[in-house]
């Protein structure tokens, strides 16, 4: 707090003039306290139709078993596990933003962490449903738990990555939920204290009686920091373990030590892309341009270039090592991936994940909302294909050519996947209506140090180095929410 000013060279995290603490609350709670607009209803209608499709498709799978999917004796894992890994990966960006960026004191996370964490939770829900429906007999899902049983207490196999995964995903989901909800308490209290009647009563229950006293805040910050500290290795471990589901097997194309870092980079890559897909729309529709600025968008794009390049290097390394290993089967798996019957999926993956994100090196593209939005979807398509390629092309031609097969999805496969996207968006749109999409308290922290108006005041006081000021003003050109004419005078 105190009188310390932030360096003028840092770009502002909150733009606009006349931003006060009250205005921050009003702006962020706008969608929560008012009736939804047309755009929300249109989105919600489509999303809930998707969610309905999901209910139908998953129920159909439960009733008929996984024979309803296009699996065959060679390809025993296909769209289900593709969808599972895809959703878990998407979920990772939320934890990365809320935990890793907190540890690195990246203040720009404050305006995007809340919705990114919500995205994490909804994505993991989508992922978890794949696991349960893939079990075939989902009513026996509790068999993955180490529970005493009537088979002479035959326990689960603790050497199996699938058991590790059960522990990893359930820990990840519950810890993310805890982190998210604890962070929400002060903001729910804000809604509570502004509401009246039944609404106040409901938010009162969910606010846990938050008061905002000194001790509450002090412990809150300690808890947030420790949660960030433990969530960081947690998020890395989760995707590492997901990758071990494949890497610890002996299937050519899966049995590689590069999988854990490669999967984690891919997860962050796709997660940030999904955050952009959601927030670019939300910022426009909810009018949050002053809080989610071009700086935020550019920063996320930079992370996408970095992780996209790591993923690209991993693809090439995998290919090189397949050749270098001298293992005939490994070599065939990769030749088959890139030139076999699924060549189109492989090249789709290569184009979407390795080539197209490189366009973000161009400042013009990185700062164009439309281009960024399209690229974010391209990345997500690419990451879906990555999992499809890893899973299906490694399986469909096994050791005996007589059992070689192709995988063709049935309408149930497609509906479960499309439906899970509907479910995700339904949950996200409901979230936007009932809870603040930006962490109010955390954004208020930035107002006096990192906002455009605070920097403007610094410039007007005249103690800043002229060159630095000029550089700062130049950096504001990319902001769509900054009035350039205010700076022309200076």
């Amino acid at each position: 707090m105190s009188g310390h000013n932030e360096s003028i060279l840092r770009e502002p995290l909150i733009t606009g003039d006349n931003i006060t603490y009250a205005k921050i609350t009003d702006d962020i709670l706008g969608p929560v306290e008012n009736k939804p607009n047309k755009a929300w209803w249109i989105g919600f209608t489509f999303a809930s139709l998707g969610a309905l499709l999901w209910v139908v498709a998953v129920s159909y799978t439960f009733w008929n078993g996984i024979g309803a999917w296009g699996l065959n004796k060679t390809v025993g894992w296909a769209w289900d596990i593709t969808g599972f890994v895809w959703w878990v990966g998407i979920g990772h960006a939320g934890t990365l933003i809320s935990a890793v960026l907190l540890l690195f004191r990246q203040n720009w996370r404050n305006s995007i962490n809340r919705s990114a964490e919500a995205m994490t939770i909804f994505a993991v829900i989508c992922a978890a449903t794949y696991v349960v429906s893939h079990m075939g007999r989902p009513w026996l899902a509790y068999w993955v738990l180490p529970l005493p049983n009537q088979f002479g207490s035959l326990w689960v196999n603790f050497n199996s990555p699938l058991v590790w995964d059960m522990f990893a995903i359930s820990t990840y989901f519950s810890v993310s939920l805890l982190f998210w909800y604890t962070g929400l308490l002060p903001d729910i209290a804000t809604i509570r204290d502004r509401a009246v009647g039944t609404r106040r009563k409901i938010y009162s229950i969910f606010s846990f009686g938050w008061s905002g006293s000194v001790k509450t805040w002090q412990r809150f910050e300690a808890v947030s920091l420790i949660l960030a500290g433990i969530s960081t290795p947690l998020v890395l471990s989760v995707h590492t373990i997901v990758s071990m589901d494949f890497a610890t097997s002996v299937i050519p194309g899966w049995h590689t030590t590069i999988f854990p870092p490669y999967f984690v980079a891919g997860a962050i890559f796709s997660g940030f892309a999904m955050v952009l897909t959601l927030l670019l729309v939300a910022r426009k529709v909810l009018g949050l341009e002053n809080y989610i600025t071009m700086f935020h968008i550019e920063s996320m794009n930079k992370i996408i270039i970095l992780t996209g390049s790591i993923v690209g290097v991993a693809y090439l390394t995998e290919f090189f090592i397949a050749w270098y290993s001298g293992s005939e089967y490994e070599q065939y798996a990769f030749i088959n991936r890139s030139t076999g019957p699924y060549w189109w999926a492989y090249w789709m993956m290569m184009t979407c994940n390795v080539i197209s994100p490189q366009l973000l090196w161009f400042k013009k593209i990185r700062l164009s909302i439309r281009a960024t939005w399209i690229l974010s979807i391209v990345v997500n398509v690419g990451m879906w294909f990555e999992r499809f390629v890893i899973i299906v092309t490694s399986l469909h031609r096994d050791y005996i050519p007589s059992s070689w097969a192709m995988f063709y999805p049935t309408w149930v496969d497609v509906s479960v996947f499309v439906g899970s996207i509907g479910l995700f968006f339904t949950l996200f749109l409901l979230f936007l209506r009932v809870l603040p999409s930006i962490a109010i308290a955390e954004v208020k922290l930035l107002l006096k140090s990192a906002s455009e108006q605070a920097k403007m005041k610094q410039i007007k006081e005249g103690h800043e180095n002229k060159e630095y000021v000029a550089e700062y003003i130049e950096s504001l050109e990319k902001f769509d929410s900054v009035k350039q004419e205010d700076y022309a005078k200076i």
Partner: protein, 178 residues
Amino acid sequence: MSDIKYILGSFGDPDEMMHGIDVLQENNISIHDVYTPMPIHGIEAKLGVKRSRIDIAAFCFGITGTCAAFALIYFCAVIDWRVNIGGKPSFALPDFIPIMFELTVLFCAFGMVLTYYASTHLFPGRAPRVMDLRATDDRFVIAVDAKENAEHTVIDELLKNAGALEVKYNERKYISYE
């Protein structure tokens, strides 16, 4: 004396509120608590609030998780029912590590957060103890116990001079009770 229980200095700016705390303390007026819409760094030192020991609790819960996971796996896989997997040893420590790690995080997170809720009296349905409804919105509120500090006019003046936008006199401790 009147029925006034608490005097609230409501500030619009955190720095002015910090100044208000200094001014009150210089005049030997004890502060009951401060309610703010966001965490204020450095306020604990001013008010003499001790460092939170929640990190110690977190560590203890975490280590409990590690031990619990090891004990569970060791019991299941080594003592109770050894499964012969290609003649490999049942006590395969590297394979135990992922679950030991996950349970460490799980126990640590839940133990710590539940400790936090318990020590701060946060639980679903608890009646919010709010002195000023704007303290979660745009006001930074210093609460002074009116019974302990008798000179109300002095407090009023000090708070206003420090920059308080409003000074309130609450006859009930918490205005949020039904």
